[in-house]
């Protein structure tokens, strides 16, 4: 695929964001081409999550522009949103709905056709045995898995993942990496906020480190990405996560 300037999957130019008097982002410029998977590193409060939320249309930049496939995140929110798969820090589930009901709600809100196979997604994330149980009783890791199932519902071209590995066990981490690798193989880009590199070994093309609201460095991932053949379904990353 030719990546012209406008065909960048994720793009930020001088993005700055202020909360009250505090500058959380001070002019961040990054570019991700289609198919590229990038880890976003940085200390607590460095602005990683803020940047992700700006790409996720949840915050407007105070200055600068951010684009998803050429669509301005502040102005063309609807176009941006139809590209996004966003996994926030919190799972964003409804405690009094069951696992399947939560997924069905997501599917309806996404405008997916009825009869989308929700149970298959639940099976895949290992929640097949609790399909009809309420989320209130789920552990943090199970809630995380349910959020992953919701991510699987649509084949988003851009994944924005905020510390996706938190609360996940080894199998869960592996599953998460499979989802990322599949999205990458299908030509989608992913921006993954991390506070440690280990779980994402073999998944990332490169890492970008943010220090105090600015991009401090951008370098290839220490362990190169294990690429899937487009369309191939996972499993290849299994070895890398050990």
């Amino acid at each position: 695929m030719v990546t012209a300037q406008s065909e960048l999957a994720i793009e930020a130019q001088g993005v700055a964001r202020r909360f009250g008097a505090r500058w959380v982002l001070r002019g961040v410029s990054i570019e991700l081409g289609p198919g590229e998977i990038v880890g976003l590193l940085g200390a607590n409060g460095s602005g990683k999550t803020t940047l992700l939320r700006i790409f996720g249309t949840l915050l407007k930049p105070t200055a600068g522009t951010a684009r998803i496939y050429g669509h301005d995140v502040a102005r063309e929110t609807d176009a941006v949103r139809s590209e996004l798969g966003f996994l926030a820090h919190t799972p964003g589930l409804y405690d009094d709905l069951t696992a399947r009901e939560n997924l069905r709600f997501g599917a309806m809100m996404l405008g997916l056709p009825a009869g989308n196979n929700l149970d298959a997604a639940l099976e895949r994330v290992g929640l097949g045995h609790v399909i009809n149980e309420r989320v209130r009783g789920f552990s943090a890791g199970m809630q995380r898995r349910l959020a992953m199932a919701r991510l699987l519902l649509r084949h988003a071209r851009v994944l924005l993942l905020d510390e996706p590995y938190s609360n996940l066990d080894t199998a869960g981490i592996k599953l998460m990496n499979e989802i990322i690798a599949e999205a990458g193989a299908a030509g989608g880009a992913a921006l993954v906020v991390l506070h440690e590199l280990a779980p994402a070994a073999g998944v990332l093309d490169r890492t970008i480190t943010i220090v105090n609201g600015r991009v401090a460095e951008s370098k290839p991932a220490p362990i190169p990405r294990v690429r899937l053949v487009p369309g191939e379904r996972a499993a290849a990353t299994a070895g890398a996560t050990r």
């Binding site: 700055a16 002019g27 105070t62």
Partner: protein
């Protein structure tokens, strides 16, 4: 969004200080004029002199809230921060004159009606309006993020202004349908001259007030933006 959109223009004080002195002098002049020229009323004696401050205060309050409506709409439409600051300045000045209107109404009401408060249509509507804009100012005090504060208070300001005629209508019906006589009397023409003159000069004073509040708010925002620019590395 470019950095140009971000800068809040620091308003220049320029001729405004002179404008302020002149408008306050004019207000004093028209008040003295109306105070001296108005003959005592047959029924109310000197009491009607209160009307020269009470009624203009009520009118300028409406002007303030109209400004809130217009600039709130404009802020939502164009997103310029100045419009938000101007709407907020007008809301504060409006609330001050709204409160003044209420107090003057009560001072008038005690000798005229024998009680400090009656649930008369105008007075009651004014009280409701006061509460609406107290809510507006409270909301602004409770929200820190400038964008959120701007959009939320614009919505509250617009709905509040929209509610003014409805409140007025409902309160009036509420009174009249229960056969309460209107307590305000029609006044002779000579009173209107003084009243109108006072209204004009009080409007000038209010314009000056809004402008000062706006200037202070804009300078604060400009200082914040300057601090931002420094934080962003001093680039333009």
């Amino acid at each position: 969004m470019t950095t140009d959109d971000l800068t809040v223009q620091v308003p220049r004080s320029g001729g405004w200080a002179a404008f302020g002195v002149l408008s306050i002098a004019a207000l004093i002049a028209t008040q003295v004029f109306s105070f001296v020229t108005s003959p005592p009323d047959v029924n109310m004696g000197q009491l009607e002199k209160i009307m020269y401050v009470h009624v203009p205060a009520a009118w300028v309050m409406f002007i303030c809230f109209a400004v809130v409506l217009v600039y709130s709409l404009r802020f939502l439409w164009k997103g310029r921060e100045e419009d938000d600051l101007l709407a907020a300045a007008a809301a504060e000045v409006g609330a001050i004159f709204n409160g003044l209107t209420l107090i003057l109404g009560m001072i008038w009401g005690k000798p005229a009606w024998g009680v400090w408060w009656v649930w008369e249509a105008r007075l009651t509507s004014t009280l409701v309006l006061f509460l609406v804009f107290v809510g507006y100012l409270a909301l602004r005090a409770f929200v820190e993020d400038p964008q959120r504060r701007g959009q939320w208070s614009a919505a509250v300001g617009i709905l509040g202004a929209l509610n003014v005629p409805i409140v007025w209508m409902s309160v009036t019906w509420w009174r009249t349908l229960h056969q309460m006589p209107s307590t305000m009397q029609d006044m002779a023409k000579i009173y209107w001259v003084g009243m109108f003159a006072n209204f004009v000069t009080m409007t000038l004073v209010v314009v000056y007030f809004i402008r000062r509040r706006y200037e202070a708010a804009a300078i604060v925002r400009a200082a914040e933006h300057a601090a931002q620019a420094a934080a962003l590395g001093g680039d333009e």
